[in-house]
């Protein structure tokens, strides 16, 4: 088994990565602007939807139900999709999924593929696997194109290039598209992308897409997008490969009435995004003659096994929790070291890894709860964060870390009055070199982890216990 979430296994801890990023004022300005715009638009269209809370409750109930009967719904989807002319494949991890997809493209004989934005393909590192086999993937979503041409990494689930401004995009396009002139209006840049990709859409014979929803009842796939690149990729090629996590299945066509109201409002602040495509197998007179659906586990069944953590699999990847998060709004997405950034990334990434990597992420939060409030499928992210912090601590305690030893010593001290009072006397003596102007601003060694972010008041000359003892004495006399 090799669970992979992009390059997150090699990423530095959040608290370290953040130090450089916080110094990048351009990046912070870009992120702040983008998240401000989306949160405002979202607030408006959510406010006008009078049954918003009822929709959230229904979505949460549907997702809870699907996860309980996931095996049944997946086999129902498999049977219906196969009956409609599709082929279904199963991959336990990233490597298996990559191998299946590379084989399918090679069997088809194509040297290039057109791709619709799919976070799942970034999760398994599909582009690298394709390139290693001599297949060129063309990202067709405007933001993904900016990332691919700029050799960059996505920093947001929905708008992956929000950390780049127009001048930066212009430079990337001019260089990589070989243009001598190009304006820096978003209109000019978008027109350049349209021209660059039209020929690919018409000529490349293999396409790769993700899926927003897999419909168990019909075997259908639903892809939600804005630009039309998604429709190009799922309509025009002969062969289409759909990569989707196993949690993407929903029971019935009818359930779309819930999710298609929640997702666009949460993701981009639109009442409905410009395009949704729903298609089933290869029965349509238009569309690919070959349809392959690759269903990916890559750690999801382990998340499912954790009773508190499994609600993470409700996620429909709208990105609302990123936009509203006071931590994400300061740092941007790259600090999280994972293609899944922000609050949802902070709970999803470490869980997919079975807490072996990305252990710093559950701490990348102030636990303010804004993410839970905006989540359209009611994932209680703060609750899961605390649960995961507990898992991190339990694992560290088992491995006899310095912190673990310190906590054991503390528990001995706190469990006896004599030891506690002795420690207080010792503390009062030991603290004096660190006190200046009535504050402790820097402590040595491991204790410094506390004072990097907070100042402390020194211990008072007289403890409460001493004061109480004196008071009682005074009464008696």
């Amino acid at each position: 088994m090799s669970i992979r979430v992009g390059d997150a296994a090699e990423a530095p801890p959040f608290q370290k990565a953040v130090l450089t990023l916080l110094g990048d004022t351009q990046l912070r300005q870009n992120v702040r602007h983008a998240t401000d715009v989306i949160t405002q638009k979202r607030a408006q269209v959510v406010a006008e939807q009078t049954d918003w809370q009822e929709l959230r409750s229904a979505a949460s109930a549907i997702k809870t139900h699907v996860l309980q009967y996931l095996d049944q719904y997946l086999s129902q989807f498999e049977a219906a999709c196969t009956a409609a002319g599709g082929h279904v494949y199963w991959a336990t991890d990233a490597d298996e999924a990559n191998r299946i997809i590379v084989d399918l493209v090679q069997q088809h004989g194509s040297r290039e593929v057109i791709k619709v934005k799919t976070m799942t393909s970034d999760e398994i590192g599909l582009n690298r696997a394709l390139e290693d086999s001599g297949i060129h993937p063309h990202e067709t979503d405007l933001a993904d194109m900016i990332i691919q041409l700029g050799n960059d990494k996505p920093s947001h689930i929905v708008v992956p290039a929000l950390h780049k401004n127009r001048q930066q995009v212009r430079e990337i396009f001019m260089q990589k598209m070989g243009l001598r002139e190009l304006g820096d209006n978003p209109e000019d840049l978008t027109a350049a992308a349209r021209q660059y990709l039209r020929e690919k859409f018409l000529n490349v014979k293999a396409g790769i897409s993700g899926a927003n929803f897999l419909i168990a009842e019909t075997g259908g796939v639903c892809v939600v997008e804005s630009e039309g690149n998604g429709r190009m990729c799922v309509t025009l090629p002969d062969t289409l490969i759909v990569l989707a996590g196993i949690e993407k299945v929903i029971p019935s066509f009818r359930d779309l009435e819930v999710f298609l109201q929640l997702l666009p409002r949460s993701a981009t602040g639109e009442r409905m995004n410009p395009y949704n495509t729903i298609w089933t197998g290869t029965q349509s007179s238009e569309g690919p003659q070959q349809l392959h659906v690759v269903l990916l586990d890559n750690g999801r069944t382990r998340v499912l096994a954790d009773r508190e953590g499994r609600q993470t699999l409700h996620c429909i990847r709208c990105g609302a929790c990123l936009n509203t998060c006071p931590v994400y709004r300061q740092t941007g997405g790259h600090a999280y070291g994972s293609i899944y950034a922000g609050p949802i990334g902070a709970i999803l990434t470490p869980q997919l890894f079975e807490m072996k990597h990305a252990q710093s992420l559950p701490y990348a939060s102030s636990l303010c709860g804004a993410c839970y409030e905006v989540c359209p499928v009611k994932i209680n992210i703060p609750e899961v964060l605390i649960h995961l912090r507990g898992r991190v601590v339990r694992e560290q305690r088992a491995s006899a870390s310095l912190e673990g030893i310190a906590m054991k010593v503390m528990s001995r001290i706190f469990s006896s009055r004599r030891r506690f009072e002795a420690a207080q006397r010792l503390g009062k003596l030991a603290q004096w070199p660190f006190v200046s102007n009535g504050w402790i601003t820097s402590l040595p060694g491991e204790l410094g982890n506390w004072t990097t972010a907070r100042d402390l008041r020194p211990m008072p000359k007289q403890s409460f216990r001493d004061w109480w003892r004196e008071r009682e004495k005074g009464k008696q006399s």
């Binding site: 870009n30 983008a34 049954d51 229904a58 109930a61 139900h65 996860l67 309980q68 009967y69 996931l70 095996d71 049944q72 199963w90 298996e96 084989d103 067709t140 405007l142 933001a143 708008v159 290039a161 929000l162 780049k164 127009r166 995009v169 978003p186 840049l189 978008t190 039209r198 009842e217 259908g220 630009e227 039309g228 690149n229 429709r231 190009m232 309509t235 025009l236 066509f253 009435e257 819930v258 298609l260 109201q261 639109e270 009442r271 409905m272 410009p274 395009y275 949704n276 495509t277 729903i278 298609w279 089933t280 029965q283 349509s284 007179s285 238009e286 586990d297 069944t301 382990r302 499912l304």
Partner: protein
């Protein structure tokens, strides 16, 4: 590949069952039926308000909206095409002949090649249903015709317009396994500095003619 593939399937299914070992597998249907759906599922506005809301929402997302009587459709189409300097279009199969201007040089969708779709400036289509609440038209078929030309003109009959998304999904249920396309405004992006731009890869212009019954 087949062997690895079925081993992977078996492994995933056994892990799911283990994770759900306390769930009674026979309770699925009852569990699904018990899901509380307290959101709005039927219309709450008058027909007139529904049509007006549909037009407003389309307008807000940069579509152009025209109202017509059944007999005036062809002259509105003629005016629109004239304004674009066009006398030709590709036409979807369910568009009634009497809606097409007499002097229009038109091609049937079924006879058009991918090159024709790409070169065409104008497409004329109809929809299966339309949603007032979100300013959406839903198409069966015409996947390429509604995507490749630069301008898309859709004629919507008043009775096709519903107020809410759940009502539309109910109407679409018989066609759930067909290819369905939901269109809400022209193709758009906000990927660069969150500035909304019309017309990325799909049509730049969306014209909607509402035919009053």
């Amino acid at each position: 590949m087949t062997e690895i593939h079925s081993a992977a399937r078996a492994a995933i299914f056994s892990r799911i069952r283990e994770a759900n070992s306390t769930i009674n597998a026979a309770m699925r249907t009852a569990g699904y039926q018990n899901i509380q759906r307290e959101y709005q599922q039927s219309a709450s506005m008058s027909r007139e308000t529904i049509v007006r809301t549909f037009a407003e929402r389309l307008h807000e997302y940069d579509a152009n909206v025209y109202e017509s009587t059944p007999t005036a459709v062809s002259s509105i189409i003629a005016q629109l095409l004239a304004a674009y300097g066009q006398r030709s279009a590709i036409v979807a199969k369910d568009v009634p002949r009497e809606w097409l201007p007499k002097d229009l040089n038109w091609k049937k969708e079924a006879e058009a090649s991918i090159g024709d779709f790409d070169k065409a400036e104008d497409a004329i289509i109809v929809c299966e249903t339309a949603i007032a609440h979100t300013g959406t038209i839903v198409l069966r078929d015409s996947r390429r015709l509604s995507l490749l030309p630069d301008r898309l003109l859709c004629v919507v009959r008043e009775r096709q317009i519903v107020e809410t998304v759940p009502e539309a999904i109910k109407r679409l249920q018989p066609f759930a396994a067909d290819a369905l396309t939901f269109i809400s405004g022209p193709s758009a992006t906000a990927d660069i500095e969150m500035t909304r731009i019309r017309g990325v890869h799909g049509p730049r212009i969306l014209d909607i003619i509402i035919v009053r019954d």
